[in-house]
């Protein structure tokens, strides 16, 4: 109820306002101005006045002489947005509005590439999002083509292009089959932004151990542990050896060192020894005969 009353009161005042004010001048405003470019505002009438250019991105106040052209130099108005122009004279107030748009030339990219570290050979595992800005940090809302390139380790360079919508473009890329650093580049014209990502081996695909007597004990050792693309799993990856024998069980966790894990275990006749890393289970040995 109160807001309806407020609205009606406002409408009444807005309707009455032109009658209450003498119209001694008028403003000639540009429809749109490109951020950072020069422009001018023409007023008519005579006498002194104050010109206000008011927006959320910038505020300008100038004393002006009515009837003269008010010039704005390049760089005076650099923040894109909607601006009100208000010319307050001794006996009149003139209002207008205009828009400042982002400069056409992209000046900077805000490039978010995720994740910074991921496994090899993942379909659509990498995402890139780009917001395109001009030199004044305005979002360039005009449709712009962005090119994405992923390169670095062995394998073909992947290239994608995408068009911005409301200033943003995105893509997804596959991670390469080989581990190592890759460069993910987003480019719009002369503006480019690079992110470095680390590809690490995927899940183990080959885990096989062997056992041999070592004095009173049993020496167990894996072959080099690799993922399905042949990348060696990183040193430090934990490999678990489990020995089950009559009346007991022994478990040993061993970190990979130079690609292999090795340890000693009790040598019980008829014991079963298994090996695993994470959820991946390797072969099993029955001491006294491999199975």
């Amino acid at each position: 109820m109160r807001s309806r009353f407020t609205f009606l009161l406002g409408a009444l005042v807005i309707t009455a306002m032109p009658l209450a004010l003498a119209q001694t001048g008028s403003l000639h405003l540009p429809g749109t101005v490109e951020a950072g470019s020069a422009f001018s505002i023409q007023s008519t009438g005579n006498g002194n006045a104050v010109l206000y250019i008011v927006g959320l991105g910038q505020v300008v106040k100038r004393k002006v002489q009515l009837g003269q052209t008010v010039s704005f130099a390049p760089g005076d108005l650099r923040s894109a947005g909607h601006y009100l122009a208000v010319l307050v004279g001794d006996s009149s107030t003139e209002n207008g509005a205009f828009d400042v748009t982002a400069a056409h030339q992209p000046g900077a990219l805000s490039f978010l590439a995720k994740p910074s570290r991921l496994a090899v050979d993942l379909h659509d595992g990498i995402s890139g999002v780009v917001y395109v800005f001009d030199a004044f940090q305005n979002l360039v809302l005009a449709t712009t083509q962005v090119s994405f390139q992923l390169s670095g380790v062995a394998g073909a360079t992947q290239t994608r292009t995408a068009l911005t919508h409301n200033g943003v473009a995105w893509t997804k890329m596959d991670s390469a089959a080989k581990e190592g650093s890759v460069q993910f580049v987003a480019r719009v014209g002369d503006a480019a932004s690079t992110r470095v990502m680390q590809l690490v081996p995927g899940n183990p695909c080959h885990l096989r151990m062997s056992a041999r007597p070592s004095g009173q004990r049993l020496a167990v050792e894996t072959e080099p542990v690799r993922d399905c693309n042949g990348n060696a799993l990183p040193d430090g990856t934990i490999v678990t050896f489990t020995e089950r024998y009559k009346g007991g069980e022994s478990t040993v966790d061993v970190p990979l060192k130079r690609g292999v894990a090795r340890t000693d275990m009790p040598a019980y006749g008829g014991a079963k020894i298994s090996v695993a890393t994470g959820v991946f289970v390797g072969n099993e040995i029955r001491w006294g005969g491999e199975r």
Binding site: G10, V13, G57, V60, H82, T93, D99, A102, L139, V168
Partner: protein, 165 residues
């Protein structure tokens, strides 16, 4: 001649003081917002925080206090708004922004969930005060592009820009 003008301005000031009802908010249905599905809770939180940002902005510009932007804005949006507030303060200007209606549409949710973009066709009134004297009040209907990013406990506005209609 000046007297009617003063009366009109006083009336507008009164309207602004009275007109503090919450804005009418309409949210467009979102079928697809790009690479990541948008959960209802996320959408609700983003819109709640965006509308709160307008309230924060309003207080900051009216009081020329850039610190009031801190809870709602971050990055380039905060820097630009803070700079405008500094310009206002330097020139003895204050502005009152009162948003009366928002027509919101979520248009993009980034694949990793770190940014979300809204288009807001917003209606608001702007009152310009110079040396505490109301110079004018204007009703504005504009289209804003806002990008919000998650912070510790809420979404904050990182990009905030009006675009030509």
């Amino acid at each position: 001649m000046k007297r009617p003008f003063v009366i009109v301005c006083s009336l507008f000031a009164a309207i602004f003081a009275l007109g503090s009802d919450p804005p009418a908010v309409r949210v467009e249905p979102t079928d697809s917002v790009g690479p990541r599905p948008l959960e209802k809770q996320t959408r609700t939180a983003v819109i709640r925080d965006y509308l709160q940002a307008w309230r924060g902005l309003s207080g900051a510009f009216e009081q020329n206090r850039a610190d009031l932007l801190d809870p709602d804005f971050v990055g380039a949006a905060k820097e630009k708004l803070a700079e405008t507030i500094r310009e206002q303060a330097t020139q003895g200007i204050r502005t009152r922004y009162r948003d009366s209606a928002h027509d919101l549409q979520v248009v993009f949710y980034s694949p990793e969930g770190l940014s979300i973009q809204l288009i807001d066709t917003v209606e608001y009134d702007v009152q310009i005060l110079d040396d505490d004297k109301v110079q004018t009040t204007q009703h504005v209907r504009a289209r804003y592009v806002a990008v919000l990013t998650p912070t510790e406990v809420r979404w904050k506005v990182r990009i905030f820009q009006a675009e030509p209609k």
